[in-house]
Symmetry: D3
Subunit: 291 residues, 6 copies
Amino acid sequence: MFYYDGKLQYPVRVETPDPRFARLLQQAIGGVEGEIRVTLQYLFQAFGARGPKKYRDMLLATGTEEIGHVEMLATAVALNLQGSPASVQEEVAQSNPIVGAVMGGDPRQYLSAGLAALASDANGVPFSGSHVYASGNLAADMYANVTAEATGRVLACRLFTLTDDPGMKDMLRFLIARDTMHQQQWLAVIEELGGHQGTLPIPNSFPVEEELREVSYTYFAPGTQGTEPPQGRWTQGPSLDGLGQFKLEPARPFGEEPVLGPPDPLAFAEIQQMMGAGGQGTRPGATSSDD
Amino acid sequence: MFYYDGKLQYPVRVETPDPRFARLLQQAIGGVEGEIRVTLQYLFQAFGARGPKKYRDMLLATGTEEIGHVEMLATAVALNLQGSPASVQEEVAQSNPIVGAVMGGDPRQYLSAGLAALASDANGVPFSGSHVYASGNLAADMYANVTAEATGRVLACRLFTLTDDPGMKDMLRFLIARDTMHQQQWLAVIEELGGHQGTLPIPNSFPVEEELREVSYTYFAPGTQGTEPPQGRWTQGPSLDGLGQFKLEPARPFGEEPVLGPPDPLAFAEIQQMMGAGGQGTRPGATSSDD
Amino acid sequence: MFYYDGKLQYPVRVETPDPRFARLLQQAIGGVEGEIRVTLQYLFQAFGARGPKKYRDMLLATGTEEIGHVEMLATAVALNLQGSPASVQEEVAQSNPIVGAVMGGDPRQYLSAGLAALASDANGVPFSGSHVYASGNLAADMYANVTAEATGRVLACRLFTLTDDPGMKDMLRFLIARDTMHQQQWLAVIEELGGHQGTLPIPNSFPVEEELREVSYTYFAPGTQGTEPPQGRWTQGPSLDGLGQFKLEPARPFGEEPVLGPPDPLAFAEIQQMMGAGGQGTRPGATSSDD
Amino acid sequence: MFYYDGKLQYPVRVETPDPRFARLLQQAIGGVEGEIRVTLQYLFQAFGARGPKKYRDMLLATGTEEIGHVEMLATAVALNLQGSPASVQEEVAQSNPIVGAVMGGDPRQYLSAGLAALASDANGVPFSGSHVYASGNLAADMYANVTAEATGRVLACRLFTLTDDPGMKDMLRFLIARDTMHQQQWLAVIEELGGHQGTLPIPNSFPVEEELREVSYTYFAPGTQGTEPPQGRWTQGPSLDGLGQFKLEPARPFGEEPVLGPPDPLAFAEIQQMMGAGGQGTRPGATSSDD
Amino acid sequence: MFYYDGKLQYPVRVETPDPRFARLLQQAIGGVEGEIRVTLQYLFQAFGARGPKKYRDMLLATGTEEIGHVEMLATAVALNLQGSPASVQEEVAQSNPIVGAVMGGDPRQYLSAGLAALASDANGVPFSGSHVYASGNLAADMYANVTAEATGRVLACRLFTLTDDPGMKDMLRFLIARDTMHQQQWLAVIEELGGHQGTLPIPNSFPVEEELREVSYTYFAPGTQGTEPPQGRWTQGPSLDGLGQFKLEPARPFGEEPVLGPPDPLAFAEIQQMMGAGGQGTRPGATSSDD
Amino acid sequence: MFYYDGKLQYPVRVETPDPRFARLLQQAIGGVEGEIRVTLQYLFQAFGARGPKKYRDMLLATGTEEIGHVEMLATAVALNLQGSPASVQEEVAQSNPIVGAVMGGDPRQYLSAGLAALASDANGVPFSGSHVYASGNLAADMYANVTAEATGRVLACRLFTLTDDPGMKDMLRFLIARDTMHQQQWLAVIEELGGHQGTLPIPNSFPVEEELREVSYTYFAPGTQGTEPPQGRWTQGPSLDGLGQFKLEPARPFGEEPVLGPPDPLAFAEIQQMMGAGGQGTRPGATSSDD
């Protein structure tokens, strides 16, 4: 169960409203790297957590923190869409938030939300729940969370370069730091689980002897003849799970051309497909004089 | 540029067609953990790769391999939807692939595709390009790729439990092994880049002094009074990037309640919102006798 | 800012796990009538609230309560997917939650979530942020909220008929009652604002003299000749806002056939469209002997 | 069955084409508050109407009117994208509709539609059928319709502020007036059904004694200690359905922490999750020396 | 402007309700081959039609007819979800439409629509406006329409095999015949425009000398060495537009490996990407002892 | 199985980077007329091909070529987002690709991809797998492919008008020519199958006597009285399949008003709907004094 106090986790100030920045902030709210996504991802991982209780608690806690990040960013959007201070009032077209929201900003922040944030990304694409990764496998989920925080921090750093507003920069400094912590946090779980050797291959609960071990540590290079295969740590040395040795092989088919059965009459292919010939159809009445 | 030879990377055999399994295989084709996703993800990372050329090549190579996995799985779907062998012909309702595709299977495999695969997941939800992660940051992308291969291998292992068909099990053994290799491969790049200390925090190119260092390694516990904070590697010891020390703090607001400006008249809120009072409106003609 | 205590708002018990019911519960989680939607809808309305502070607070409070409903329902899904009690162990195929999740249930609850809930609806369609209505107009938003709670309560009542499990029925009784309260709550705001006369037409801040008053209270009946127009409260008596009188008129065009300009050459229509004739094209070399 | 006469319901004139306005009009065509949505919503409510025939007829009639609104708006888009009159010909970049559609307008109106309207919103997001609410419960549907017309009228008023074109303003005056009528119309049905007491709680056909009456009229305030609960009509006085009394209570959990069963081995969690411990895994060969 | 008469274009009868068939009919309503799509596609093509008026009229007329097909199919869904006749009353579980809608049918037809149709496909995926093709080029649109009617007729034929109900078969016979007519109709426009030679290449208004004529009629075969190129009408003989000769060539790159510039510092790649080397990063403090 | 050589099918050069053009190119990558779509469409048609092998091979070959077109266009996007040459360095705001990507370009090319391409269209809408048409009927699929190449060529021609960059124009000349070839190629298959008479009506494998022949070649004109029916090739002469004669008839209903059964009590309509009356409800306790 959840509670609120109506305060912001960190202050949100906007000195010079900028509707274009209000659009960009949407990516951090409803984008694939955004805060709605991590909120729901961590909460759903918690709600479905089986196994050690402490991971459920940790996910619940950080998911709860993230709701407050959505709150901060949505507040930042609303403040960026407000009337600008008197000192810039002259540049009318630019300073009027409505004009700004329409020209270069996200017009739906005005048209649909009345100068406030939407649950969508910087291009107005609505948030999709398909990005809520909660696989039931703790290691897979931790890597999904690292990914979310890594792309989220990259996004926040890029946003940082696009504003000169001291308030916005201050808010982003806080969010960037939290992304740092959250990257650490999910990787710390991997460490607790024994690192690469304790977790790989994910899932580590599937008996490895059931997989086709011959190709488990082989880098296949499907370049055509004359195409140099890229080499690196992944083509030599022990595998990271300590269970094999990397090797490099040109890719080649182990299988043959697939042969599907003929079309099922009830699937209503064209008659010519059913005859197994590619030439003229023999359908009664059909002639080749047409076309 | 790309080439084909029409053969399958690994043999795909189906001894006893099962339209229900044909539906489940869709998750591995068009699902968020599926092969269309990794194909496009690795190829788009390659197409936009800046920096050391060998990573572009590696991504291109593995992206190319993944197209062949889509081919294998789509072939497996088509074979699972074909007429069943004589030996099971008696169980008509079950063995007729069309009935099967409609009852318990994916009806669109028949209705829309004529007993073949679709570019969608096990619930018929179309593949979405929003899942193609290619951030331009190599470490973030590698973690995104590990996530894709970890959830992909978990999926393949679960599919493995849902079929008794020797051909399908054989195909999955191959795909599970390739997922093992690909998990290794992306983590090997992280190792090449210097592991945690060489890559964290992601992006490592943003000056860390610009972030709010006070909260970069602090685990905030937003539990209400009496709620025990979850402790672990993430609440103590050196941070994984070697740049700080984990600590634990109860979450509390650094900010105050946000104060937004009044509604802009041109945003057409209700009059009562503009008056700044929650009571009866003073709109001419309005009375409270209604409702 | 938000907090949690890890407890459920109301107990969630499942006596006889039922994977098919686990699928149906998804509609109440990620469907258009579901709890993710109301959580985000009320929170976004709060985050963008301008005007009387008490409405922001109320929205924040109820949005926070709704997160706990997502938690309850996701927990209910996880419990419905667990191994069934010994007493029904015989009916293996039915009682095994994995088989159940695949046959008649949502296969992705197993394939993608490892026997847990997803952020999608009963057909596996992901939650979409486009359903988060927060228009910036209080009355419009209150009606959107009544709609959400009305369709949500209808859904909960229907779910109630589809389970015999005492624990599930108990949980639904609670959720149905909360939907009752929330319907009341949003309508109470309308009453506070002066009811129909205080709020209509929405937005009440647009000068009514700017609209085409002749058609503001006219029911247009576009039935063809001989089609009886439907009559009711909407065709006679005073309008609900007290500003007009309903009347009934057959629909007829006030306008003429639209005339668009010719195709812009740079838009690359077919040549024949540009010539303004529908017959044979005069394109050099074109003949009508084809086809 | 449906008919057409090729004329517009109301004249659509554009004196000064404006591709940016052509983009904004898309919200009224394919947006969540737009005319495709109400067309389909009213028609689907009619197609599935059970009960008094007059409501089916009314829905059919108004749904039919709305198709004509799509026609008007699509025509307005096409006219806004045409070559501008000579008087503004100088400002080439601005007046060329193709340039305009690309810069500040919706580029797909040119790229995909050849200077015409699309079935999408002002950000190019395609219309989604998920917004077609037709619940089978008349009161719920009427509130959904009020919402559609309230947000639709808010949108039209906002569009009205964004154009100086007399033709566009004239068209919007008509559409705003029709939204006024349609708000009235759906609320008139609620009045016919007996108003709040005749319809609430929705659905009114579920036996109220089956819900948990203790919480049906209770406003839960989940603020943390020290957070003032918002008070209003919803915390005191008789409930609007005449069946209870509002009261205010601090939110607190009725339930305990949920306890899910251990991971099912076939769901392939990590081994460490199955051991019920969060420490080092005991998987053969795993050591903690890694990472 | 549009009108209705409340009658069905063709009778819709259901003798034995079948909720599973009600699910399948959704594909013909809201699927990519369905009637909502053709309704909107033809209407949007009409609304944006530039050039000969008769094509606008024809599109308007047929689009109007298609709304009536949505009406027929939605009615068919509602009738298939109603209580079954007494004669089959014994088979309770099967004959109860609610049970049927949940088991093997579309649960949302009950949960969200109260036993009626939805604006979605047979898997519950909502209709998407992105399928409304209206390119502004008449020939391209006619082929899009042929495709819609061809896939639509294939779908209707497949549905025909999945029902034994005389009423449903009768309705489908009508719809299949209309699809026949509509295929003819769009191809008749192509014929009017001069057939292949009058319309190809589409658009025929782009000067062909601007394209790279050397590859305009060349079939590229990108098979690897030893892969037989598929031959047919497309590898020999005059091209269908009468402007060239088909020929066959092995595919080979005309270009070289692309060389992108280094990462922009403000895009925050990893430092190692910016150094142009794939080895260990030189970031201060980073060591390779990790991982 | 697939292979690559890392080279581009045709050279991609950008002399003057233009972030706005980088946005427009997205339509050709991830739009409905774009290259991801044709790649997957042709490959899925190949993977599910039943009948003459040569069509599978041809589809496989051309699908493989299309992957290379995605590669070319993604490369073009990346090059358009790079730092501009010194000669234009003065116009800072315009020439800085990051500013450009944000203002008038696609901000996510910077925010989410670090100055590279996305798997989405020119408005940032992600590619959707629902556009992958592979019906299992060869003729239907060929028309779907002609549509894809016709709208694709129209798009490429429009893009051609929006750039002055010699490199971009050169690349588009190549792509436009390939679209010419591919239009030819799919129509050549239709010719091989016997043209209109060999393929129509699609599917030609459904017995035509099962359709309602009376309406198979009738153009229905649903114009209201006084609305002139559009006449053309589709209202007279022999049908294109040689099986009938076109004729023109005013549209009129063959059916009556549909009568649905009363609401099922378990679907929880409002009580008033179940009573079959539209007036005041008789629900115990309800009065009409409200509202």
